[in-house]
């Protein structure tokens, strides 16, 4: 069939060329059938050559393009499925995470309350200890001040008595002291 078409084209091309030559050498009014036929045949030859030469390449290109698109679609589908799976996993984790977070928050609140109570108790104990120490220190200082005052008072009284005694004590007093001493010895 192809051979027949090629032969027909081979015959038609010179015929069309002859018809065009006739038209140019012997012009007449009306439709230029020869030129028209030549152009049509020329275009048909061009189209045939084009078909013979580029069809395979175009088909291959289209096939490759289709395969690439197909692969891309399949790849995209796989990625989409993976993404869906990942999303589901993450969703699951997020769902769990919310629960864990709530549990953690509850635990943290409980821990904070326990720690707060412990801190408050420790602070209370510390405050009580400080108060006790302060009271004890104050008592000690007061007692020491009292003792110092008593000691000073006693010392002053002693010095005063020692200074006054020789002048104030009479012979009768001295006699009375001796008598008291004797009665104590006899007791």
């Amino acid at each position: 069939m192809r051979r027949v078409a090629a032969a027909a084209l081979a015959l038609l091309l010179p015929l069309a060329a002859v018809a065009q030559e006739i038209e140019e050498t012997h012009p007449h009014p009306g439709i230029p059938w020869g030129k028209l036929a030549f152009t049509a045949i020329n275009f048909s030859v061009f189209a045939f050559i084009l078909y013979r030469g580029a069809a395979a390449w175009v088909r291959n290109s289209l096939r490759e393009r289709r395969d690439a698109v197909q692969k891309a679609l399949e790849q995209a589908e796989r990625v989409r499925r993976d993404a869906e799976l990942l999303r589901a996993q993450w969703q699951q984790r997020m769902d769990k995470l919310a629960g864990e977070l709530a549990a953690m928050l509850r635990q943290a609140r409980q821990d904070i309350e326990v720690e707060r109570d412990q801190i408050l108790a420790a602070a209370r104990r510390t405050a009580e200890a400080i108060q006790r120490d302060a009271e004890r220190t104050a008592e000690n200082e007061l007692r020491q001040a009292r003792e110092r005052l008593r000691a000073e008072l006693a010392e002053h009284a002693m010095h005063l008595a020692e200074r006054l005694a020789p002048r104030q004590l009479t012979a009768a007093d001295q006699g009375r002291f001796v008598d008291e001493f004797i009665s104590q010895v006899r007791r």
């Binding site: 008593r150 000691a151 005694a165 004590l169 001295q174 002291f177 001796v178 010895v185």
Partner: protein
């Protein structure tokens, strides 16, 4: 007091007791004791470089000067021979102690802020004789620092009735915050 002094004192006491001259011997020993208390004489009595002749000469001189009776004089010479003149003080003290025990008496020192009258002194002595059941050989002293009252030292035991001590006790009670009643 050394055991040497005690042995010599007992020996002398036995001799004096036999002769019936305990009091005289004790008095002479007290003289010797007072003499040996002098620094120069003590140095001479204890000098180890003195020869036996010199020591005897020294003892003889002391005996002559103090007009010691033969017993005490011989005892002194014996101490010189035995190089025990340095023990005189201890011997006299122990002799006195043995004599006091024999006579059932005790020595006391009565110290008062002002001089005691004879009656007061005798009253104090009587009180202690009654308390101790022994006669008291008392020596009296005056110490104005006592302020008032009496302090009696009986063989190392102190009976303190001085105003100064009472004032100190009062001051201590005031300082200690105790009731004064």
């Amino acid at each position: 007091m050394s055991s040497v002094a005690r042995r010599y004192a007992k020996a002398l006491f036995a001799v004096a007791d036999e002769q019936g001259t305990l009091e005289q011997t004790a008095a002479e020993l007290q003289l010797l004791r007072a003499l040996s208390g002098d620094a120069q004489i003590a140095a001479a009595l204890t000098n180890p470089l003195l020869s036996a002749t010199s020591r005897n000469g020294l003892a003889r001189t002391i005996a002559d000067n103090l007009k010691l009776r033969p017993t005490t004089r011989n005892f002194l010479l014996l101490l010189g021979d035995h190089r025990r003149l340095d023990q005189l003080g201890g011997i006299a003290e122990h002799f006195e102690r043995i004599l006091d025990e024999r006579l059932n008496r005790v020595r006391a020192t009565i110290t008062a802020a002002v001089a005691l009258s004879d009656a007061q002194r005798q009253a104090v002595i009587s009180a202690f004789e009654q308390k101790l059941g022994r006669s008291v050989l008392a020596e009296t002293r005056v110490d104005p620092q006592l302020l008032g009252g009496v302090v009696v030292d009986v063989a190392g035991t102190i009976y303190d009735g001085s105003v100064r001590t009472q004032l100190h006790a009062l001051a201590n009670r005031i300082a200690g915050g105790r009731s004064l009643s």
